[in-house]
């Protein structure tokens, strides 16, 4: 192991952190990234490439990294595809390389590299064409195994993630010199500022450069500035926070890595927080990203972007190599040579593509030259140089810094499809002017490349942004800083040899692939991208897109702006799925709604079922019952024989008041309500404007101008929304007021021959049949004075009531009902028994109210009054919906009573082939009727009303069942309704 630490840098050498990479132990210091610590330990090889399994090391020192992609942690916390260049080192970190077998140094899949001619762009499309059946079973699994990234932990993520919401006047993205200058200006002016940076240390390139700011080290100026910002209550500093996307109207998505620099999050704390930032204005100060020059074998470990090479030296005190060369087409690359020499590293040569310009003393500065090839199997051992005169020279080096210029990091500015603009002065794209409303780029992100320009544009844009908000921010005195111009002569790739020159290292896209795409006429940028996969890896081509574009431009003889540019979309960097889910996982996926009888039911050992967000009692098993059917049959039989109690609170309840309440209901219901007497209830059918049934329920008239509507459990919210729409949008002058009371009342159904006897024990008023007849309703009191409501309505077909008490008394009420019912052998029943009884009675419910059915389909066609203009009336009368051979609701029973039925089975005539044109309808709801002793069902049958007595087949092709059935009336129990009125 070679120690590559040199003096300096922003690491805390007083503390040592232990970590492992591929099982081997290493040490590093606080302030290190995994990449800097490995490089300090002499480890350059960190991964294998996607397709060819080429040995790879980091080329960058930031989030643009395409190569050094590793798995962090182990077990359930294992996270694949993490960039080592931004993974903050912590004590005990376990990191593993990926996409190699059996080991990183010896990867058997590297055979792909030898077979590379077969793996060129378009390889999959051309090769795996046939036979088609081979794709899923043979080709895809092989390709997936061979070409890939890391593997997921298959265990559940043990960590928590939060979502949060932040508000500010000014969001500043990036805390380099431009962002800090903007934050200082806006912060001092009193604006609410959020300064977010993906790094764990603010300062941006000031930490990586030897620039002087205010006559001191740039990094020190950054530290002092951050310290001042920290004292401002109006400024929120967010490190480890990546702004992922610019959404509409000043909303930004950001992920804060709260705990990723610990081995395990502190108990109760989230691993990450996904912030939704509401920013009136935003400043993009995300800096710039260096781009490589493509040349043969430019992907060996030890070959890096020149800026990264000096970042490792300046910020992390790491000499990536002991003998270094620099390959550049611009002056910024020269800084790597001077910085490294100042740090005592041997710089063997600067290979400068330009002929003119200044000469760096202290090393060989070779002008007009190119690197045409490199050597070294698992790491760089040498470079081959072609001089201006054509002479070729080999140079022994173990690190090479490459600079092809810098691209403004404009990613976020194109999230609204704004097209970046080419700028010849810096040979790069700059952000579009109309990119994202309210977002302005500053500093290097805007193409202002010097430190002075960063400080100046940051401050100036902060002043502008605040002035747009009506705030006055004085322009600050700028600290003294370098203001070197950009000196660059574009040089994209080296025309030499037959070997491969990499452009997109993560997706293994080479100059050859671009040439092939051009040859096959995939010249449009969008085609180029998809054909070669250029820029489509997890790094979104941050270092490669412009280079690929430039090569294509050269091939087509066009300029780069003529060739086009690709734009970026969120997220800026990959984001954990857990962060997008937040707390909404597992039992907390959605809120749970408890019924008023929940505590009691849980005590009784009830089996619960999720109905939307509600937990409802499905059935209540009694000792000795081993199947659900035993419990449900008992609940049904006992109810029909004596009396049953059921919590029906979940049905939506809407309080409707106002002098036009009755007229309003006439508009929203297909039938009439204005004529309903006070103290009476009526069943109502609500249609959509297209004539399909929307919902049904009973509505009670509690007073002259006061109704209580009930809705189905599932439609409580949509119906309320619809009623608001009707009263605000369609009939704005109707005097109607609405409010939901679903949760205010605990409501219980009491059904069965003994229902009245049971209730009379609790109700303070007389509820004899004469005093409180079928379909009566009214305010009552129970148990000696508690205000309550009573409705004589029935879903089961029995003599039945629904009684409502204030919800806080719901628990006491279920206990009182059970106690009062003891002498009648009363039973509490759940949703299954409820379902059985409604099918026995022939009442429609969710399976029939399926969003496709009309009142006519449901046998309720006569309820649609044509004498008034109600929603859906007109279109419910369309020919297509009123045809005689349309679906009608029927009852179904198996001819052989021992046969069972399956919902969803289709009706077919005897002998008819089971094909769509012979389909006569289907079974919607199937139950076992303990009262009849066999299965029964409701179904929709073509012209069903006229087909009672007919024998058909109920065919289920999925379950491969076929049962002979008889079509009967849907009213299996008490068709005359005598029990209801008893």
């Amino acid at each position: 192991m070679t120690e590559r630490r040199i003096p300096g840098g922003q690491i805390d050498r007083s503390r040592t952190l232990r970590f492992t990479f591929d099982g081997l132990p290493y040490t590093g210091h606080p302030g290190d990234t995994l990449a800097s610590a490995l490089l300090a330990n002499g480890v350059q090889l960190m991964g294998r490439s996607f397709k060819y399994h080429r040995p790879r090391g980091p080329i960058s020192a930031g989030s643009e990294e395409p190569n050094a992609i590793v798995e962090l942690r182990s077990g359930a916390r294992r996270e694949p595809n993490t960039r080592a260049t931004v993974a903050e080192l912590f004590d005990g970190l376990v990191a593993t390389s990926q996409n190699r077998w059996p080991s990183l140094k010896f990867d058997a899949m590297a055979i792909n590299d030898r077979l590379s001619p077969f793996f060129a762009a378009g390889f999959y499309y051309k090769t795996f064409m046939w036979p088609a059946s081979f794709w899923e079973k043979i080709y895809e699994p092989i390709i997936r195994r061979a070409a890939g990234l890391g593997s997921l932990s298959t265990e559940a993520d043990p960590d928590d993630y939060d979502k949060g919401f932040l508000h500010c006047d000014l969001l500043i993205i990036g805390a380099g010199p431009a962002g800090l200058s903007a934050a200082l200006t806006a912060g001092r002016a009193g604006a609410r500022v959020i300064l977010a940076d993906e790094d764990f240390r603010m300062g941006g390139r000031l930490n990586a450069e030897t620039h002087q700011v205010a006559q001191g080290a740039g990094a020190d100026w950054a530290t002092l500035t951050v310290a001042e910002l920290r004292t401002m209550p109006n400024v929120r500093l967010m490190t480890r926070t990546t702004v992922l996307g610019a959404m509409d109207h000043g909303i930004y998505a950001a992920v804060e890595r709260v705990s990723d620099h610990f081995s395990v999050p502190v108990a109760g704390k989230p691993r990450q927080i996904l912030w939704r930032i509401y920013a009136t204005r935003a400043i993009l100060a995300a800096g710039a990203i260096e781009r490589p020059i493509a040349f043969e074998n430019n992907d060996r470990p030890g070959i890096m972007l020149a800026g990264a090479l000096r970042a490792y030296a300046n910020r992390w005190g790491v000499a990536v190599g002991t003998r270094v060369a620099v390959f550049t087409n611009n002056d910024d690359g020269l800084r790597t040579a001077t910085d490294l020499m100042a740090a005592g590293v041997t710089v063997a040569a600067i290979i400068d593509t330009r002929v003119g310009g200044r000469i760096v003393p202290g090393t060989r500065h070779i002008k007009g030259a190119e690197v045409i090839d490199t050597t070294g199997r698992l790491g760089l051992s040498g470079v081959t140089i072609r001089h201006a005169d054509g002479k070729v020279e080999s140079l022994s080096v173990n690190a090479l810094g490459v600079s092809g210029g810098w691209n403004p990091n404009l990613n976020l500015s194109s999230h609204h499809r704004g097209r970046p603009v080419w700028n010849d002065d810096i040979a790069a794209f700059v952000p579009p002017l109309d990119g994202v409303a309210g977002l302005t780029a500053v500093g290097a992100a805007a193409g202002a490349m010097s430190t002075h320009a960063a400080l100046a544009t940051g401050a100036a844009q902060a002043v502008q942004a605040l002035s747009a908000l009506g705030m006055n921010a004085p322009a600050p005195d700028l600290p003294l800083a370098e203001d070197a111009p950009v000196e660059i002569t574009p040089h994209w790739y080296v025309h030499s040899g037959k070997g491969r020159a990499w452009i997109d290292q993560q997706n293994d896209v080479t100059v050859k692939d671009i040439k092939l795409a051009h040859q096959e006429n995939f010249v449009s940028v969008e085609h180029l991208k998809r054909y070669t996969t250029l820029g489509m890896a997890t790094d979104q081509g941050k270092t490669s897109n412009v280079l690929g574009l430039a090569v294509m431009a050269e091939l087509t003889g066009k300029t780069i702006p003529q060739t086009g540019t690709t734009i970026y979309r969120p997220p800026y960097t990959p984001v954990a799925m857990g962060a997008l889910a937040g707390r909404s996982r597992g039992a907390e996926f959605k809120p749970t709604r408890h019924t008023p009888s929940h505590v009691w039911a849980a005590e009784q050992g009830a089996v619960f079922v999720e109905v939307g967000m509600w937990l409802r009692t499905q059935w209540l098993p009694r000792p000795g019952e081993t199947t659900w059917r035993q419990s449900v049959d008992r609940e049904v039989s006992q109810t029909r024989r004596s009396v049953g109690i059921c919590d029906v609170t979940t049905l939506g309840k809407i309080d409707i008041q106002g002098t036009d309440a009755g007229a309003f209901l006439d508009r929203v219901y297909a039938n009439t309500f204005s004529s309903l007497a006070v103290g009476k209830v009526r069943y109502g059918l609500m249609l959509r404007e297209d004539g399909i049934v929307m919902d049904d329920g009973t509505t009670a008239r509690m007073g002259t101008n006061e109704y209580v509507m009930t809705t189905t459990t599932a439609n409580a919210v949509p119906v309320f929304r619809h009623l608001e729409y009707c009263r605000q949008v369609l009939w704005p002058d109707m005097d109607v007021q609405l409010i939901s009371t679903t949760e205010a009342w605990a409501q219980f159904s009491v059904a069965g021959p003994n229902a009245r006897k049971l209730l009379q024990k609790l109700v303070d008023q007389d509820i004899a049949n004469e005093a409180f007849p079928y379909m009566a309703c009214g305010a009552i009191t129970v148990c000696g004075g508690l205000r309550a409501r009573l409705f004589r309505i029935s879903f089961s077909g029995e003599l039945a009531y629904e009684i409502a008490v204030p919800t806080r008394y719901g628990d006491a009420m279920i206990r009182a009902l059970v106690e009062a019912g003891r002498e009648f052998d009363a039973v509490v029943y759940g949703t299954e028994a409820l379902g059985v009884m409604r099918v026995e009675k022939g009442h429609v419910a969710g399976n029939e109210l399926n969003g496709q059915s009309t009142a006519l389909n449901m046998g309720l066609g006569k309820m649609v009054s044509k004498k008034k203009d109600a929603i859906g009336m007109v279109l419910s009368q369309r020919d297509g919906l009123t045809r005689d051979d349309g679906l009608r609701i029927v009852g179904v029973r198996p001819v052989d009573p021992t046969h069972s039925l399956t919902a969803g089975a289709h009706f077919l005539r005897p002998g008819a082939e089971a094909v769509a044109e012979n389909d006569d309808g289907w079974l919607t709801s199937v139950v076992f009727s303990p009262n009849l002793g066999h299965a029964i069902a409701l179904g929709y049958l073509k012209n069903g009303t006229a087909r009672l007595g007919e024998r058909l087949r109920a065919v289920n092709l999925l379950a491969k069942t076929e049962v002979e059935v008889e079509i009967v009336s849907p009213h299996f129990i008490d068709p005359e309704g005598d029990r209801l009125r008893a």
Partner: protein
């Protein structure tokens, strides 16, 4: 997206439910001659502009106001937000 609610100021579009074209305000008279044709057009025929679009949004997780929002379907820019009740009255709807 942010919708600048006429009563409550800027609110996140997450709080709203979208319905569709504000032309829905012009509900035909169901008792008039030719009502079926009128309803067919009302319900099924819509303009689909690339540009300004007046549409109905409901502040379900807020004050339950129905709003008419003028939104550019290309840029998402919202240029006007009004209470749907006011718009409906202005268009002659009453009771």
């Amino acid at each position: 997206m942010i919708i600048n609610h006429p009563l409550l100021g800027p609110r996140d579009a997450q709080e709203f439910v979208y319905l569709g074209d504000a032309a829905l305000i012009n509900r035909p008279d169901g008792m008039a001659q030719g009502a079926q044709d009128a309803f067919h057009d009302y319900l099924y025929l819509r303009d689909n502009p690339a540009g300004d679009h007046r549409e109905l949004w409901y502040h379900e997780q807020g004050d339950r106001s129905w709003l008419v929002v003028t939104r550019n379907t290309v840029t998402h820019e919202i240029t006007a937000v009004e209470l749907a009740r006011d718009v409906a009255r202005r268009m002659g709807r009453s009771k």
